[in-house]
Amino acid sequence: MAVLSRFDPPAFMSDLDRIPGGREQWHEFMSMVFNWAIASEQGVVAPAAGSSAGTVQFFNAAAWDPGEPIIEQAVTWNAFPKELLVRFGRARALVEADRLWPMEAYHSEDYDPAKPGQAVLDASSRSWYRPHDEYCEWHVDREPATGRIRKVTFTSEPPEYWQAIFGGEVPIDTGVSYRFTGNPEIVLDLYRTLVSPEVRVEDLVFSETTQDGKRGDYNFYNKWNSTHGIAHLAAPPNSLSAEAKLGADATVLRGSASGQPVATADALVCCAGYGGPERNSDPTIGAAVNALARLGAMITLVNPVGLYMDHIDLSGWEVPDGIDPHDCVNIIRGKPGMIERMVVEVPAGSSRFVSDITIGGEPVRYGGQIAECITVKLVGGATKLHSVQNGLTPCNSRCCLDPANASRLRDPIGWDAPTPIGFIDALGAEPPSAATLVAVSAHLALPLVSAPRPPIRPLATRSRARRLLA
């Protein structure tokens, strides 16, 4: 065994080969992300009894040689945002998933565009994102006159990769960032090939310096990656550094108040606060990583580190005119099992639309119905099982729920924070008492989402709860 010689770009894509030193810079950046994630756990991981310090169980394969083979385990999850499902039910979730949301909405777990007055507030928003937080975003291209779907484009390419090609600074943490040399012309070329020949460089950058970025910096939420098309992931939690931070966070062993290991997926994400408890992705990734950590393993993300669409399941798909559903799916970037960009459209020459496709007899009316067929993944690696023994770190946080409408867990709140009125603690963080079981819902008074608007950029954390651990 040896250390990993170089971190490769996601799916071994070759765009950075066009930039002198591009690949080396990517490797440096990835190594830095790993090192930052590992360092952030140093103060968190608990020593075993009799030891002076805990061992962080997340490692950088380019910096440390385990001396043993690494077992790879892919962690898979469904692409359709479960948060939308639990918030709105499937029928409305499909509608919302095809829309853009104002950036302010991200930081409120009660945002509802249909609330009276919300539309007025939304109208003044300057940037918009796709409410897809499962590391797979899509854009629906409809025929304007009829609304029929011509094409749906899916991507799982991380924003940092595109920043690397463009050039500029990628923030990793407060005061920590990496500067890529890049070449904006290559990004322009990619946009023109993948999205539209009408793209101009001015469209892709901030036209003036604001809290969101300096004039001339690459704008992840430019119109060709939001309202007019799609190039890569841009929703705030969908970043590569957030993936690494999630992986590192989930290697920390957690213990309940009574000293029992916290082991189940929901309890862990609530206890450690590393992501959204109602997503498909975060609880699953966290649980898979933590299970390996509980076995005393050292854990990493396998090269090439990225987010990938594993496959699309075409069972139940029927296309008229005898067209084979497989002919309606094209992998544009990446490769089977490691798909980065995928387009669903009826083959050229046919007069049919994607809207003519049925899945289990249901006509495709929304891109989200196709997202439901897509499995997203990351690939973790574990080695040196039973080599590390750490103590249990107490919980950072806990989740509550509304007992009168127990359809979802709320975002984690600080462990010591008071339980909001009308809510009760979930999952044994604080077993419900008889009084709280009859609490009345406090939904009536929830405010409209109105600001202050945070700067727009992909975050280095899967956790939306910024008030966590205040």
Binding site: G43, N396, A406, P432
Partner: protein
């Protein structure tokens, strides 16, 4: 960046003070309204399914309504079925006390009563009430034949398993009604079924029947491949009356062992909120101890009703065991797989040995006592070491507990029981919710005579006609049955990887020839694929049905 919490662990919430520990308050179920096939389920060794096509003529339909009204008192309610079940449990318990090794013997615990359920397909229900079109279930409205490609059933007209070749419920010939007659004695069941059939024929219905019987002798309770089937069933939460502990599902864990006593019936038997099986009750929420949102009854008269999935599955026993023999033989030559036998390979693919003993509790070999012991045979986790639980009445689970197996090194992620129930692991739809919201109550029974020589190389007087009359109860066909079949069993990457297709019942219509594959680990962590080019579980018919409440039968359908 978040800072570390201080090491002071415990603090009481300032809002509630020190909380009182309290068990979940379970809803009282409408035991006189819900049909017994849904709660608690029939679970009888002898069943006859009566297939009914109703005539279209108005007067014949009216006659049928009259017949249904007269017949109503004979439909088994949940109350009647639970009473029967409790009598059986008592007899079984006293027999076990006398002779602990014996499994609950169907023969001795006889009850002269026969249980009957009535279920309607969408076209059948529509003949009787226009309200049928308001039931918002695309699967129910479309019917199983129309959804067959979603389930992975072969499409080509000549293909075995294609709906065009089904013996019941093929496109254009979907059943209107399915009547299930169940009991402890074959003769009584047949007599009752014949009486029902005679009356239906009298009003001009087209009727056929299908018998299903539990296998006899040493295979009692086992399906045709030889495995003890139905070991793991969800435990329906709910009470049969206002008495605080009159639970539909018996509890076996000592009340002091919390929260396990609140989470399980038998150890490992998840208690699931009743809305997952019956419309109009709380279903799964994010906290398993708290009731979740109601499973909505739309239209309102569907309250206390359920959906029933019927799949007539033919099992090619000879093909299964020949493939096990050949694959085990091939793999045994590879490093890390030496000594692999067909029995062991089959157990790896099921996740249990033939006795029902969970593979990850006894990976070295079968243990029949463990397999037959309901206090132990379902008590295991996947992601963590399984804890020992304190049981009631001083009982114990003396066998080795299962060790943590998150990657599927011991029990593969492609094993059937892992493909349909992830237990304490996460899945592709997030945290633990799937463990509660994707469950089925399985109330089917095998059919056909056993195959004498299990490689199928001798004579077979049945000509292969044996298998499973799969029947499941759920409140959502799409989110439960279809989800498990299409999303998990048939897909190689879900619920988790490294996995593969469910080799036992999964289908892989997408692959060339429908070949199924799954990954198993060798003793030195080597990974190999088991491959099965041909289908040994073939769908030969079925349908999607609605099981109405007694009031719905009387006031909406039979009125």
């Amino acid at each position: 960046m978040s800072e570390r919490r201080s090491s002071a662990i415990r603090r009481a919430s300032p809002m509630t003070g020190t909380p009182a520990q309290q068990a979940p308050v379970e809803p009282v179920l409408d035991m006189d309204e819900i049909q017994g096939i849904a709660v608690p389920g029939f679970f009888k060794p002898h069943q006859t399914l009566v297939y009914v096509h109703l005539p279209r003529q108005r007067d014949a339909i009216d006659k049928f309504r009259g017949l249904l009204r007269e017949f109503l008192p004979a439909v088994a309610t949940a109350a009647k079925t639970l009473k029967d079940r409790r009598e059986h449990r008592q007899i079984a318990a006293s027999l076990r006390a006398v002779s602990p090794r014996r499994r609950a013997p169907a023969r001795q615990a006889t009850n002269r009563e026969v249980l009957v359920a009535v279920a309607f397909s969408a076209p059948g229900l529509l003949k009787l009430t226009p309200g049928a079109s308001e039931i918002p279930s695309p699967a129910f409205q479309g019917g199983m034949a129309a959804r067959a490609s979603l389930l992975g059933d072969p499409r080509g007209r000549g293909a075995d398993g294609s709906p065009a070749n089904w013996v019941v419920g093929r496109p254009g010939e979907e059943l209107d009604l399915l009547i299930i007659v169940a009991g402890d004695e074959r003769e009584l069941v047949s007599t009752e079924a014949e009486a029902i059939i005679k009356r239906l024929l009298g009003i001009g219905a087209l009727v056929a029947k299908q018998d299903g019987d539990a296998r006899e002798g040493k295979f009692a309770g086992h399906e045709h491949f030889g495995f003890d089937d139905g070991v793991s069933q969800p435990g329906i939460r709910g009470r049969a009356s206002v008495a605080a502990d009159d639970f539909v599902t018996n509890r076996h864990i000592d009340p002091s062992d919390r929260p396990a006593a609140w989470l399980y019936g038998y150890p490992g038997q998840d208690l699931v909120w009743p809305g997952e099986f019956v419309l109009g009750y709380p279903a799964t929420g994010p906290d398993p101890l708290l009731p979740g949102p109601l499973s909505r009854a739309r239209p309102a008269w569907t309250r206390n009703g359920s959906f029933l999935v019927y799949r007539r599955l033919r099992q090619d026993v000879g093909l299964f065991w020949r493939t096990m023999r050949d694959e085990a033989g091939r793999l045994a030559k590879l490093d890390g797989f030496q000594g692999l036998t067909e029995d062991r390979l089959a157990a790896l693919l099921v996740g249990r040995w033939r006795s029902g003993a969970p593979f990850n509790r006894v990976p070295l070999g079968d243990n029949e006592d463990l397999g037959k012991n309901p206090l132990a045979n379902n008590n295991f986790l996947f992601d963590s070491d399984s804890p020992k639980l304190s049981l009631m009445n001083g009982q114990t689970d003396p066998y080795d507990m299962a060790k943590a197996d998150p990657v599927g090194i011991t029990c593969p992620w492609g094993a059937h029981i892992r493909k349909v129930n992830v237990r304490d692991s996460g899945s592709d739809i997030g945290g633990r919710v799937a463990t509660y919201s994707k469950r089925l109550l399985r109330v089917g029974v095998p059919f056909g005579q056993s195959l004498e020589d299990h490689y199928g190389e001798g004579r077979d007087p049945q000509n292969g006609d044996r298998g499973l009359l799969f029947l499941s109860i759920q409140s959502s066909i799409e989110n439960q049955f279809e989800f498990l079949q299409a999303r998990w069993m048939n897909d190689p990457s879900r619920p988790k990887m490294p996995g593969g297709n469910d080799m036992i019942v999964g289908q892989n219509a997408a692959a060339e020839g429908g070949v199924r594959r799954c990954t198993i680990f060798g003793s030195g962590l080597q990974q190999e694929q088991v491959s099965a080019p041909n289908q040994w579980v073939i769908p030969t018919g079925g349908g999607y049905f609605f099981v109405p409440s007694i009031t719905a039968l009387r006031e909406v359908i039979a009125r």
